[in-house]
Subunit: 62 residues, 6 copies
């Protein structure tokens, strides 16, 4: 605890951004909740194709 | 807001059904909650292989 | 299958909208995927306080 | 109901473990909640690459 | 890893069933994936009112 | 996009930590993915009672 899950466009997930997101989101949680949570923080990334993500009724990437 | 997430068999997700699901689910939310939510409605589709979806202890597609 | 989960502001969830959302979202899925899915469609509503939902870094309801 | 969702490293998901997880997790729910839930229990497996799963700020598999 | 999340009717979640579900679902995962996962298995229970869970277009508990 | 969901112990969610988590997690995403995502970043907090969160087969708070 805590469990941080991130859904984002798959084009945004690269070897660089993966590691940085995991690190910075963990840092953010530890800053707010106390450093004792750091060891127990899970971050799970879920890439989603733009075509599978609709905003205001329209799929992205079309 | 609102956020609508749909998990469904991967075989059901085609270029046609993707767009239609995003549109119709957004329409349904706007009809019930008021059209002002339309712009802020997200629909995220999560295709799942039948083999990864168990019902009554049995995986699909086996 | 399918599984439709909806997160929305708790103030939007009333005895009326609950039933309507469940019905209309199920209709929308059945229209697109075929009426044979209707019996097997789950809709789960998750009300969220505005204060627990941040957009662009700001929580709602503050 | 109930709905059991499992996120796990994709390397752990094989044709054998898929079926066993679905069966054993359904058994566990039925043992605790009563066998009448068995028919209505869904288990959905979500394999995740280790590189997309961070623990204590570090992604797995790096 | 693994992360097991369970959504179930609120009335099914009691001090007894909570502990039993957490224990048995963890056992099931460890039996299938190997006992080394036991220490790292999370089970999170999400009780849902029947009125917020629709099946085949009808909410429960009405 | 992106959508950041956080599950954490209920006791960790206070009027202070809510706002800070939403702000810092949004900052972290914007730093990594580019500031253009800030406006479109959602952070949704899900407090969970310790008794509903099992680690290694044991529920918290017992």
């Amino acid at each position: 605890m805590p469990l941080i899950e991130v859904k984002l466009y798959e084009k945004r997930v690269t070897p660089e951004t993966r590691g940085q997101l995991i690190e910075r989101l963990t840092d953010a949680a530890a800053e707010v909740l106390g450093d004792e949570v750091r060891e127990h923080t899970w971050v799970v990334l879920h890439p989603v194709p733009e075509t599978h993500w609709g905003i205001a009724g329209k799929p992205g990437g079309d």
